[in-house]
């Protein structure tokens, strides 16, 4: 993201949100029953999403995903093993690999979906992990607001082109 396009207000909101999340989840660590560590999950998620990620959120995604996916450990190990084995430069290379199995792709999609939507689990039992920090808003952040986090008065108009003029 082009940081010059982030307002001071948005930055303050962002850090406030991180602090609030940290406060909400004191001492959240990887579920003891999980073999996967926070570091391992953060490393894998960083590769799968291609983004610099918040470790606190990562720890919460790990706990939530583990709750909804009994074999998450196995899936994390298999994914990381496949990535290490091929030494992919990025996710596009991973997706282009001829020997990428449907199972591995489904595991990757599960983790990517969580990070992008900010939600883990099917609608009836879904848990929200992040709202404004859900990754789906990253590509559109310079153009349109996350609902309820508006840019302030007089920030739109016929001649204010989203992402171009202020």
């Amino acid at each position: 993201m082009n940081t010059s396009q982030i307002s001071r207000r948005a930055l303050l909101q962002g850090s406030a949100a991180v602090l609030a999340l940290a406060a909400l989840a004191p001492g959240v660590v990887a579920n003891p029953a999980l073999a996967a560590t926070d570091d391992a999950f953060l490393k894998l998620s960083t590769f799968l999403t291609g983004k610099s990620l918040n470790p606190t959120l990562s720890a919460r995604y790990l706990v939530a995903l583990a709750k909804h996916n009994p074999d998450l450990d196995g899936e994390i190990t298999a994914l990381q093993g496949f990535i290490d084995q091929h030494g992919f430069a990025d996710m596009d290379a991973f997706l282009a690999a001829p020997d990428l199995s449907d199972d591995l792709k489904a595991s990757a999609l599960k983790i990517v979906s969580a990070w992008y939507l900010g939600v883990v689990g099917e609608p009836e039992v879904a848990e929200l992990i992040a709202y404004a920090d859900a990754l789906m808003y990253v590509p559109t952040n310079p153009y349109i607001p996350v609902p309820t986090y508006g840019p302030g008065p007089h920030t739109w108009g016929p001649d204010i082109i989203p992402g171009v003029t202020k």
């Binding site: 799968l48 291609g50 990025d90 996710m91 596009d92 991973f94 997706l95 792709k105 990757a108 999609l109 990517v112 979906s113 992008y116 939507l117 939600v119 689990g121 609608p123 009836e124 879904a126 848990e127 929200l128 709202y131 404004a132 789906m136 808003y137 990253v138 590509p139 559109t140 153009y143 349109i144 607001p145 996350v146 609902p147 309820t148 986090y149 508006g150 840019p151 302030g152 008065p153 920030t155 739109w156 108009g157 016929p158 001649d159 204010i160 082109i161 989203p162 992402g163």
Partner: protein, 543 residues
């Protein structure tokens, strides 16, 4: 004052209609009690609940109703998000009004249109539906007062009949606040569609554009539904606050279930239940039913008794009948250039070329609108469902969010006595009060409108050089409930008279859109509010 009664005026329902009446009557020094079936809510709680909700409900994703809503659902006052409303007819009437202090305007998009003169004379001009007993000219001064009470922003000088002509309908004064600026997305659409003969109309709304009473100006949060996080948009709780400031008393979690009629055929008392089941009685010189167009008729029909054998105000058998909406259709298109819907508030850009004319003999008037709601969530869900990841995912989120446009049409519907609300014969809420049962269908007139509207939608897609992704002809509910206590001069076929007073009970008024004899195609809140201002004046003449 109120020596023989508990209050001068009892208002049942704490939404915009009840709020306006309560504030005006209390301001005149009268004792007012307002009863609300649901609880008080705090804006910050609704905002937080919304942000934290895993499923984001909005009018645009009504399919997920029942999964969650930021507004409370309590056993004694169940939310309409869920299975509270019982669908009995061929067309689902899945509306969602709010049962909290302040009412449904908490989540309304806040469009505040006036009807046009011919909307009041549909039968005599075009041979359809019913005429109103009053004209636009008679209502005009009350429209203006309602616009002041609510705090309306609007663009002066527009031909709101969509003909691209002189300012219309006639106004005796400008809008209270200047109109919202159209976003870039709207300007770009206007540039493409005006050459095709589509005349844009920017809707009047309840979003402050200058500081207004306690409201700040709109900050473009794009969350008008479900809640304005900064209270720039009017909602009924603001009128209730005003009423309380003048001494009105609000009883929340007070579910009115019983209405007594005396031998003089006047309302003699109302009863409400607390969540614990206890019953309480109140009396007043005047009673105002303002519980919106499903709860009001339900309560009235539940109260059959010696002096009101068909139920309250129901000697005509019209209570609960003539249920109307602006039942609609929609079309999603993918444009070939960036528009970026979602900038600014969820203000709509509208086209009402077919708002008035001889065509109304053959098909209904309608309003075409394009939603200015950020499509990021729905877009991302679709892309992930297709398995997109990597750089393609980000690129497609950006491209499709910038280019996906949702067009929708709201059609006028006609009053049909078969479309009705009744108390369900078996199903009850936690207090033992029957839940609403709804029977609804659309007629050939509506279908003729749909055919006409579809042509316009495809023409719009063509002018935009956009690909049509989907068209939904599935009777979309527009959350504009009207007609269930219809107004008329003849007590044999209407429930209230031209002053919104029930024909049967001289000390009872009905406030809100349920009295409207015709629906037009525009959002009915302002019309209901104008009639409510008029009710307050009528009551103050008498007490």
């Amino acid at each position: 004052m109120a020596t023989d009664f508990d209050a001068d005026v009892i208002v049942i329902g704490s939404g915009v209609m009840g709020g306006i009446i309560a504030a005006r009557v209390a301001k005149a020094g009268k004792k007012v009690i307002i009863l609300e079936s649901g609880p008080r809510v705090k804006r910050r709680d609704i905002v937080e609940t919304y942000r934290n909700a895993p499923v984001k409900l909005s009018l645009a994703n009504a399919k997920l109703q029942g999964v969650g809503s930021p507004y409370p659902s309590l056993p004694h006052s169940p939310s309409t998000y869920g299975d509270y409303l019982q669908q009995m007819g061929p067309v689902k009437f899945n509306t969602s009004y709010l049962r909290v202090v302040g009412g449904t305007t908490w989540h309304f998009g806040s469009a505040l249109w006036r009807m046009i003169p011919n909307d009041f004379a549909l039968k005599s001009k075009y041979g359809r539906g019913r005429d109103w007993p009053i004209s636009y000219d008679e209502l005009e001064p009350w429209y203006l007062q309602a616009e002041m009470d609510i705090g309306v922003t609007g663009t002066d000088g527009q031909d709101e009949s969509g003909k691209g002509g002189a300012p219309y309908p006639p106004r005796s004064a400008p809008y209270p606040m200047p109109g919202l600026k159209p976003s870039h997305f709207m300007k770009k659409l206007m540039d493409r569609l005006t050459p095709g003969g589509f005349n844009p109309v920017l809707e009047a709304s309840a979003r402050a554009t200058v500081p207004w009473k306690k409201r700040p100006i709109c900050a473009g949060n794009n969350a008008c539904n479900p809640v304005c996080p900064i209270a720039a948009k009017y909602d009924g709780s603001m009128s209730i606050d005003e009423a309380e400031g003048y001494g009105a008393q609000v009883l929340d979690n007070a579910v009115v279930h019983k209405i007594d009629v005396g031998d003089d055929r006047q309302i003699s008392a109302i009863w409400y239940k607390r969540p614990d089941g206890s019953e309480h009685k109140l009396t007043a010189a005047r009673y105002v039913m303002a519980a919106y167009a499903i709860e009001s008729p339900k309560i009235m029909l539940l109260n059959k008794q010696k002096n009101a054998p068909n139920g309250i105000a129901n000697s005509s058998d019209q209570v609960g009948r003539n249920l109307m909406d602006h039942t609609g259709i929609s079309m999603n298109v993918m444009a070939k250039e960036d528009y970026w819907p979602g900038q600014g508030p969820t203000q709509l850009l509208t086209y009402v070329n077919n708002r008035d004319g001889d065509f109304r003999r053959d098909f209904p008037q309608y309003k075409i609108k394009v939603r200015n709601t950020t499509p990021v969530l729905s877009t991302t869900q679709k892309l992930l469902a297709k398995g997109l990841m990597g750089s393609e995912l980000d690129a497609e989120i950006k491209r499709q969010s910038a280019r996906s446009l949702n067009w929708a049409i709201d059609f006028e519907t006609l009053p049909n006595p078969n479309n009705r609300v009744t108390p369900h014969p078996e199903k009850k809420d936690a207090l033992g009060i029957p839940v609403p049962a709804i029977w609804y269908d659309v007629d050939d007139y509506w279908h003729a409108g749909k055919e006409q509207g579809l042509k316009d939608l495809y023409r719009i897609a063509e002018l935009l050089d956009a690909d049509v992704v989907s068209v939904d002809e599935g009777f979309q509910n527009r959350q504009h409930i009207m007609g269930t206590t219809i107004m008329g001069d003849d007590p044999a076929d209407s429930v209230v008279d031209r002053d919104c007073r029930t024909h049967d009970h001289k000390n009872m008024f009905i406030a809100g859109t349920s009295v409207m004899p015709s629906s037009s195609c525009v959002n009915p809140t302002l019309t209901g509010a104008a009639l409510s201002v008029r009710i307050a004046a009528e009551i103050l003449k008498e007490i």
